[in-house]
Point group: C2
Chain length 390, copies 2
């Protein structure tokens, strides 16, 4: 029992941390509970219950399945589900009619063939990358509804009635889910995507800010845990692609909200994101030189310290400025200036290397930092171009 | 109509390409069609149909929803669905009983409260990363079943009967899906993960193989499209994390098959994968130096050509050897030897740089290739350690 208790405590602390990291999670849970309860009670007090019959449960099912974390995802699922049910219902009814004309023996064969063909073809369509991204769920529901209509049609001629009932309950369920999702503390995927783009840039900026001090510090200076955490922050950027893509997909479903129009250029965010990642890859390479065994000696480092710290500082300022600009959707004011500064620093470093200052030293450890930093400048300037177009 | 036709043709060619890229997709589509048709026909010829009633459609629903591309995913969903239905059914029945004791007025309030609490708590649990990875679908079904049992219980006392029927149909549907999935050309997520690890390493190897030629070629030599494609192959490795993780999750559900035991060390693949990605990040940085404006002059490059090509060739051989070793699950025989060779080359390059050969040249463009290559050696050796443990 004591072990159980400690396990319970650890789970509870984890749950608490999860909530603190993003309080919207708690709100979301409560919203789901509310929506489901609403639908359940609706059917409890609904005098038409007997009219809708078992189909009533489709409303509950719809709420449970459709309700997602962000508005875009919920809307996308809802629209997918509604349209797919409608289309598949019509098609299923047609197939059922067609088969019933053909006599008692042919009917099951024909229906089986229809079901087989449709299921196979639609499943194949689900492999198309573009379909998968936006309509995967709809295609699934399409197969499902078509098959259900056909199967239930075997014994029962109330197909039309059933299809209509199902559609109406799905509408009720979907509407409830959407209503709760949109009007109670909505979570917009577009906002998330927007913030993610800014945060990722900022993380890279923080890394570069810390990098200068970290690389050129003397061994006697210790490293605080906090610094280390900042330096590791960029790592999450490396694998941000999937998150960004799904957020952009959800965002496309969202109507106008806040500062975003309906057809906000979400694709732009993906482009910014991929440039940010490119920059992060370079930083990952740069990060490798922080480990002490690959560092150049104190003496050599001190020679290049000045331009290098300047470069990383300026790049960091530019990135942070850009992040801020993306966040507030304004034009970056001084970013260009920072970039120009870092370019000057890079040039001075280059000319420094050209002079014969280095004849007797091991070159391997000095130059990479400089080269990567100069690459960074290219990246920053291209990021800037895009940020300006927002 | 002509436009429509050209659109149709383009879709058709895309569909064909999709099938050629991975013929298993076509097989999968046919399998889904078969499974659904089987279940539909089963209910058509089933004399017990009237006994199972509307629940029969749950079997079709289960097949449609559970059937996934790989065996692991299908098994995972099936088990999730079965267990969740069982648990939630029992709990829902209990809640229903408890509420019905409390009198007519309290009943809906109490039930509403139960539904709200359970939905909110379980939705919150879905945010736990570990739960999300393996039991997300089960938790969804858990909410669903619990609510359905409660809602239907309002008017109908046949809850127990209904729960039992639902479970049996789900079992039938799940069994059909699993049977078709496992015994007709099964697709194992474990195999895919295994191959992915090997292919990714091989891609990096191909890049390094081509890199030497590409970097040190004279401007007069043209570049064939094929070469370019090989050099871009590594890009897909950069974003392979999500795919690998989901495959590993699926693989954990799979029983013994082929050369894999039930508890194959799938975690190991993730570790190999992350090292491979690390290596890919470095290669991404290296790739930046291929563009002509960043290349050093012909003369300088020719000086370091010998050790550099040696290093990249040896690294490439080692990586390919390791990939082969992972694929065939044998110990790599000559990989160590290649790694040792490339280390020797790196050393000779280092000493070459130490001598004052470079006094009057621009250093910026020479060294990165060498440094990144020496980093690569570290990566390769660590990859090797892990490959040996397979």
């Amino acid at each position: 029992p004591e072990k159980l208790w400690s396990k319970f405590v650890s789970v509870a602390t984890k749950a608490k941390k999860l909530g603190q990291d993003d309080p919207r999670r708690i709100v979301h849970s409560l919203k789901v509970g509310l929506a489901i309860t609403l639908v359940s009670l609706f059917y409890y007090f609904e005098p038409l219950y007997d009219g809708l019959g078992v189909s009533a449960m489709w409303a509950v099912l719809t709420v449970v399945v459709v309700f997602e974390f962000s508005v875009g995802a919920t809307l996308g699922r809802g629209v997918n589900r509604g349209l797919a049910t409608l289309l598949a219902g019509a098609l299923g009814f047609g197939a059922h009619r067609l088969a019933s004309f053909s006599g008692n023996i042919c009917e099951p064969i024909l229906l089986g063939l229809f079901v087989f063909l449709l299921a196979a073809v639609v499943t194949y369509i689900r492999f198309f990358p573009r379909m998968k991204a936006r309509y995967d769920y709809g295609l699934l529901i399409f197969i499902l509804t078509f098959c259900l209509i056909s199967v239930s049609g075997y014994r029962d001629d109330e197909v039309l009635d059933m299809a209509q009932k199902r559609l109406s309950t799905i509408l009720i369920g979907g509407a409830t889910a959407l209503f709760v999702c949109v009007f109670l503390c909505p979570v917009w995927a577009g906002d998330d995507l927007h913030n993610l783009a800014a945060i990722n840039m900022e993380k890279l900026g923080s890394f570069l800010e810390g990098f200068g001090n970290e690389y050129f510090k003397t061994p006697s200076q210790g490293q605080s845990m906090e610094d280390k955490e900042i330096l590791q922050g960029y790592r999450s950027v490396l694998n941000s692609k999937t998150t960004e893509e799904s957020l952009a997909n959800f965002a496309k479903w969202e109507p106008r909200h806040g500062r975003f129009r309906y057809r906000h250029p979400w694709q732009q965010y993906l482009r910014i994101g991929s440039l940010t990642r490119q920059c992060a890859y370079r930083i990952e390479a740069l990060n490798g030189y922080l480990s002490s065994e690959l560092k150049a000696s104190q003496e050599i480092r001190s020679k290049i310290e000045d331009p290098c710290t300047k470069m990383s500082k300026d790049c960091s300022c530019a990135l942070k400025e850009l992040a801020q600009a993306v966040k507030t959707m304004t034009k970056p004011s001084t970013a260009n200036c920072h970039i120009a500064n870092s370019k000057i620093a890079a040039k001075s470093l280059k000319s420094m290397l050209k002079t014969g200052l280095w004849q007797d030293t091991d070159l391997l450890e000095i130059v990479p930092a400089a080269t990567v930093a100069s690459l960074l400048i290219d990246i920053v300037s291209s990021t800037e171009e895009i940020a300006e177009s927002v």
